[in-house]
């Protein structure tokens, strides 16, 4: 926005100072980085680490490095708190169980649903390396705000979407159970239909409001310049 106003100022006032200010601003802005990826804290793990679940003949590993604050096995399910995968911006709690199968987890977006959140979506992508088996997955959803199964999607590497009830089901505590599927699977929730955004209007629509203002300013500025040049041409013509 500041950049835009500087350009407008340079146009209106034909001032070199604005041009130099523009260049200084560009260089100055570049000194600030974008939001950094969330730094992992706690215990680091690598792709070589295997999280076994001996009681149900399953194992979990990750295809990228990462970290968690703590991880433990409970009721045949691995619980990773503050799990962050390398290169990801997000961290959250993942509960995963693999029964009669070996699973490699590739990506994880935890549920970010809170009372003030603008949306709640989550996903996990993993490969069932061995026989299909069964995977029990909880991406940190809030059981007090249960989702509907229509908000969830399970699909494989061929973009085949699997019907709920046939190969997967959603439990009331936001746990998804996937059974009988192999290959690379994605389990995802889209906030389908239960989306609630209770922010102020101007925050919810800040981008469109800003865009509208910029369009109006540009059209106004262009019209003013056009009128001025028409007037100037008429003055020169009269002279």
């Amino acid at each position: 926005m500041l950049l835009y106003l500087l350009v407008c100022g340079a146009l209106v006032f034909h001032c070199r100072v604005y041009s130099f200010a523009l260049i200084a601003l560009l260089v100055g802005l570049s000194l600030f980085s974008f939001l950094p990826a969330v730094e992992g804290q706690g215990t680091a793990f690598s792709t070589m680490d295997v999280f076994d679940i001996p009681a149900v003949n399953g194992s979990i590993r990750f295809s990228v490095n990462g970290s968690y604050t703590n991880a433990f096995l409970e009721n045949d399910m691995w619980i990773f708190n503050n799990l962050t995968l390398s290169g990801s911006r997000f961290s959250g709690t993942l509960k995963f169980s693999a029964k009669n199968c070996d699973v490699t987890i590739h990506s994880f977006t935890p549920s970010r649903a809170t009372s003030n959140s603008t949306y709640s979506s989550c996903s996990i992508r993993y490969t069932v390396e061995s026989d299909a088996g069964e995977q029990v997955i909880n991406l940190g959803g809030d059981p007090s705000r249960p989702s509907h199964y229509s908000e969830w999607t399970v699909f494989n590497q061929d973009s085949v979407f699997f019907g709920e009830g046939k190969t997967w089901k959603l439990l009331p505590d936001e746990t998804v159970i996937v059974k009988g599927l192999s290959g690379r699977l994605t389990v995802m929730r889209y906030s389908y239909g239960s989306f609630v955004d209770d922010r102020a209007f101007y925050l919810r629509h800040s981008v469109s409001i800003t865009t509208g203002i910029i369009v109006a300013l540009t059209v106004t500025l262009a019209t003013v310049i056009k009128l001025r040049s028409n007037k100037k041409a008429k003055t020169v013509g009269d002279a």
Partner: protein, 402 residues
Amino acid sequence: MVWELPVNIVLPIYFLAAIAGTTLIAKFSRNKTCRISNLRLYIQIFAVIAIFMGLIIGPFGQPRWAPLGISPRDRLLGADLLGNQLPDGITLPVLACYYPNGRTVTCPAWQLQAYIFPFWNYPRGYEVTYSTLGIEKIGIVIGSLIVASLLFGRAFCGWLCPFGLFQDTLSRLRRTLKWKHRSFSDETNKKLGQTRYIIIATFLILSVIFGSYYIFGTELIPGTIAGGPGGTEAGIVSSINEPYCLICPMRPLCSLIEAGIGSMNFSYISQIVYGPLGIIGGYYSSISLTVLIIVIILSLAYRRIWCRICAVGALTALFSTTWPFKKIALTKLQKDEQKCTKCGICKRACPTQATDMYTKKGGDVTDSKCILCTRCIEICPHKNALKITFAGKTITSSKETQ
């Protein structure tokens, strides 16, 4: 490859190199008939670096298909600035394809098609949940296009578009091989220019048809619900909700280049998904690959062949050279009729065969086919006969040559 260099080092070096190089070329280039062309090439290269800056400053978002390699694709300028309202990045009217890794801006053609998909009520997109309606996002994209087009017209095509650079490179190759370029007849070229509007309109209508379930609640073509209520198994939908992207040559070009330099795992190319429009790979279709091959072959004969039918160019031209935008567009090609001798060299030099600067009498001669490359100005032998103006101020004008 992903270098993951620190942003605080990369960006200052980038801007300083861009400004320094531009100044040096502008000031010290000896051959005045090529000075602007050299400057334009320099700016085009830096524009491509900026558009795919994410490849240099590394992955930001989560790995999307980690078995296929890390995907530094979420390094979106817009994602940081605009948050979840428009996480697909800032609209720039160039073929900054949505699909490749490391991009910082987004192609408006993709955005217009994609935002038709969740139109009235629904913030859902592709693996992303937005907080704005599809229609609101379309409004944002069109607003951005209007602002960009009013400010700079089709200069984006001539100076910033990565696919434009690709075509210019092929033209330079042709010149190196001493092959003469060919030209369409004026009538054919005019029809090509009209075709691009038909193309963009057709594909936007197809997007509406394929997304009809989400807009109107009715599936106009069976199988076009993506994992809908109850988890319907998708048929063709995941492949053709952005029909223009299935024919656009930029997607396979970016995918092949990025796979070639190791910034995208080759599985994105080799993973074959059979669809209704021929074999569809991970990030291209057989149609778009064929279109790319045709464009490459034709670019060795015709200059800027794709620009003559480009949908994004059509959108930019629509908002800068058609009424009422034409009246207030700030960047114009102007002609002084008194100084023009009708030698026709401007018309011959124009890479898109725009003709208004030759046929029109004087004043604003900005053609909708003109990409404001300033080649006509560079080559015009008569001082101030042609000039580019911005807000009435002359940016560059033709110089007298012996």
